[in-house]
């Protein structure tokens, strides 16, 4: 590439252009300021957010919706530390993201200079890799490597911290033609022999389940998964990170497993004799008490990260590789096994279907005539349709949004799964809308979550990013309150937010340049949603005042066995009437 002389800042912007970046979410400040000057002339769209946490979650939402690497930018010190939460969040959920931070001049590093924070040290345990660049000549190489590492293998976050003097010094720009990382292995090639072992186990099984995780969405393997499920006749469960990886409407889909999973999904895993684990990691929220999880099942574990194999649950057959490669090899291998002897899953399918029909997801309509939060969310899903992208915060509304919306397509459900970051929904919706401007994007948020990051509504209003926000307002930290109801004798210590009194969310929306709507009666739900759907030139915020004592069911209490799933308070399934 060209050897033109320029300063490090121009080299950085040129590098980001070469890496294919089309949008950056960020905020300038002293140390990163030199980079913002050439950025002013760049083809890259920079969206000026209101808080760096918003930049990080927006980059995450962008990446989750598009599959591309999300990019956020901040200055040194507080700018960088404000990125810590979204970095940890994205890394936990294997989201490809590159974070660029300014650093104090190299001569000042280590002196406790103004706005100095050791963000490389701070972010070491929450990134896939990170860089501190002090020599301007190293900028293109660091950026090229950062995008390569973030996007390949198990995706993750790479932070590039650049000293201010590296941005201001003169250098020559050389975009690397190749990347040499002798210690980096992406493990994407699946081994045929492992796949053959897996196919043999499948052919010998009688109660198999496809346990599908977020890796299937990351590797764009939904079509392949559908083919595998239909050819093999094996029922599917999709984890919180995998909602949309397999159509909810499909007869083989049993729903979400885990703490708030469906009885059919949880019980199918418990009674299974073979878990075909695809891009999932046996998270504690799925397994419950690990020692009692799926006690008689053999395990096929397919994952791109070899460190996940056997981390929580021993694998009988491990397939390290990109899960799409794995499924592409597995489908013909299973067909070949079936050609010899097709296993008969008739009794098993009958069994899981009976669990599904006996214990469907459901909720009670509040007797006082107030709004049921589950009903609001269900209507949102129905009215806005399967092409809508939903984001959620963390808590009850998140679980209901996962349970009561039918996801038919990958990348239509974005949430904070691993870290459980309250405040994810609004900025993630902003990022998703920027990445997929033709899709309707709904943020389903709690009144607690919404008050953590709603400042980005101003960003949305000013930058023509017309997201829609549904606040499921139960005027409390609802999930914590639910635990207090169940485990702390209804002692509601510090969970009452009074958010039906303060703030007035419709006025807040108005002040932020958005349309504010309110709905408190069941009969107004559809027309309010339809009104919100009709507004496409401005962000819309709907304050749904809902029944505050609604709870998320089913539930497996933390630390207990999945066998102790409760379908409602003090109500376990009546297994005696079930033919187990």
């Amino acid at each position: 590439m060209s050897d033109k002389k320029m300063n490090g800042a121009t080299s950085l912007v040129r590098s980001l252009e070469h890496a294919g970046v089309d949008v950056i979410f960020g905020i300038p400040g002293g140390a990163i300021l030199p980079a913002y000057d050439p950025l002013f002339d760049s083809t890259i769209r920079h969206i000026l957010v209101r808080h760096e946490q918003g930049a990080g979650h927006a980059a995450t939402g962008y990446a989750q919706a598009t599959g591309r690497v999300g990019v956020c930018m901040a200055t040194s010190g507080p700018g960088a530390t404000n990125l810590v939460t979204p970095i940890a969040d994205a890394q936990m959920d294997s989201v490809p993201m590159v974070a660029i931070t300014g650093q104090v001049p190299s001569g000042a590093i280590g002196t406790d200079a103004f706005q100095e924070a050791d963000i490389r040290g701070i972010s070491m345990p929450i990134t896939k890799h990170n860089y501190l660049v002090t020599n301007p000549a190293d900028i293109p190489q660091a950026i090229a490597e950062a995008f390569h590492i973030a996007a390949t293998g198990r995706p993750g976050v790479v932070l590039v911290d650049i000293a201010k003097d590296a941005l201001t010094s003169e250098t020559t720009f050389n975009w690397p033609t190749s990347i040499s990382l002798p210690g980096y292995r992406d493990h994407s090639q699946s081994k045929q022999s492992d796949v053959d072992d897996a196919a043999a186990l499948i052919a010998q099984s009688s109660r198999p389940v496809l346990y599908v995780g977020g890796g299937v969405i990351k590797s764009n393997a939904s079509r392949e998964l559908l083919a595998l499920a239909e050819a093999s006749g094996i029922p599917v469960v999709t984890t919180l990170m995998a909602r949309g990886a397999f159509p909810d409407s499909h007869p083989l889909h049993l729903g979400m497993p885990g703490m708030h999973g469906t009885v059919a999904a949880v019980t199918a895993l418990q009674k299974s004799d073979l878990l075909i684990t695809l891009g999932a990691r046996f998270d504690d929220r799925v397994t419950g008490k690990l020692s009692t999880f799926a006690p008689v099942a053999k395990v096929i574990h397919a994952d791109i990260d070899p460190a996940e194999i056997g981390k929580n649950r021993k694998a009988d057959v491990a397939i390290v590789g990109d899960v799409r490669n794995t499924i592409n090899l597995l489908l013909p291998a299973v067909k070949a096994q079936y050609a010899k002897a097709r296993p008969d899953f008739t009794a098993w399918i009958k069994q899981v279907n009976s669990w599904r029909s006996t214990f469907p997801l459901g909720y009670d309509i509040p007797k006082d005539g107030s709004l049921s939060p589950q009903y609001v969310i269900e209507r949102l899903g129905k009215i806005s349709g399967p092409d809508t992208i939903f984001t959620a915060g963390v808590g009850q509304h998140q679980m209901w949004a996962s349970q009561f919306i039918s996801y038919e397509k990958p990348r239509t459900w974005l949430n904070s799964g691993g870290l459980g970051t309250m405040g994810y929904a609004v900025p993630a919706a902003m990022g998703a809308k920027v990445g997929a401007p033709d899709s309707t994007v709904w943020a389903i948020d709690g009144d607690g979550c919404f008050q953590m990051t709603n400042q980005e509504l101003a960003t949305c209003a000013l930058n023509n990013i017309p997201i829609k926000v549904a606040i499921i307002n139960n005027e409390s930290l609802g999930m914590v309150r639910q635990w207090q109801t169940l485990f702390y004798n209804e002692r509601y210590s510090n969970t009452d937010l009074h958010s039906k009194r303060v703030p007035d969310f419709t006025k807040l929306a108005d002040a932020m340049g958005c349309i504010g709507l309110r709905c408190e009666r069941p009969e107004d739900v559809d027309k309010t949603i339809e009104k919100a759907m009709s507004i496409n030139d401005q962000p819309v915020v709907v304050d749904f005042g809902v029944f505050r004592d609604a709870m998320v069911w089913p539930m497996v209490a933390a630390g207990t066995s999945n066998d102790e799933i409760m379908v409602a308070r003090e109500l376990a399934p009546d297994w005696d009437s079930q033919d187990l």
């Binding site: 345990p125 070899p306 194999i309 056997g310 981390k311």
Partner: protein, 163 residues
């Protein structure tokens, strides 16, 4: 219950870059693994350094340590070093009390153990030994009666045997 602890020696070839030791040691503390000894030094190639870590973990956890280490971008190769198939050496420096009367006795004892007298003063002496941990322990025990004033010991370094 008295749990028998087993030590494993892991030899990690890393890129010679700033921050690599921090990444490796942070990984151990973050995942809850205890480092018994650590040594870092150059290799025949100036691009690479070798970190030798002795860790007390059991089978499953050991696999996890190795798998997690392997994910670090700056880690090139990892090898577990077994005592039977590798040379494993540590360095000991120990300061002991001496008097005019037992100086000669000390010299003899140290020579018998293959150690060296690094310094001989009128009231104290410094002894060094480069050997296996068993031999080092034996010398320390033998030196105890003199009165140990100060002791410092390096982490272990290891090299696989070919025969």
């Amino acid at each position: 219950m008295n749990v028998q602890r087993t030590f494993h020696t892991i030899s990690v070839l890393v890129e010679n870059r700033s921050g690599v030791l921090a990444r490796v040691s942070a990984l151990f503390s973050r995942r809850g693994y205890n480092i018994e000894s650590l040594s870092v030094g150059p290799t025949q190639d100036p691009q690479f350094s070798r970190i030798t870590i002795v860790v007390s973990v059991e089978g499953h956890a050991l696999d996890q340590v190795i798998q997690q280490l392997d994910k670090l971008v700056n880690v090139i190769a990892i090898e577990e070093m077994h005592e039977s198939s590798s040379v494993q050496i540590e360095l000991l420096l120990v300061r002991v009390s001496v008097t005019a009367a037992n100086q000669e006795k000390l010299r003899t004892l140290v020579a018998e153990h293959g150690g060296k007298m690094a310094e001989m003063g009128s009231t104290s002496a410094i002894v060094s030994l480069t050997d296996t941990s068993t031999k080092i322990e034996a010398l320390v025990n033998a030196l105890n009666p003199f009165g140990i004033l100060e002791l410092t010991q390096s982490g272990l370094v290891a090299m696989r045997r070919t025969i």
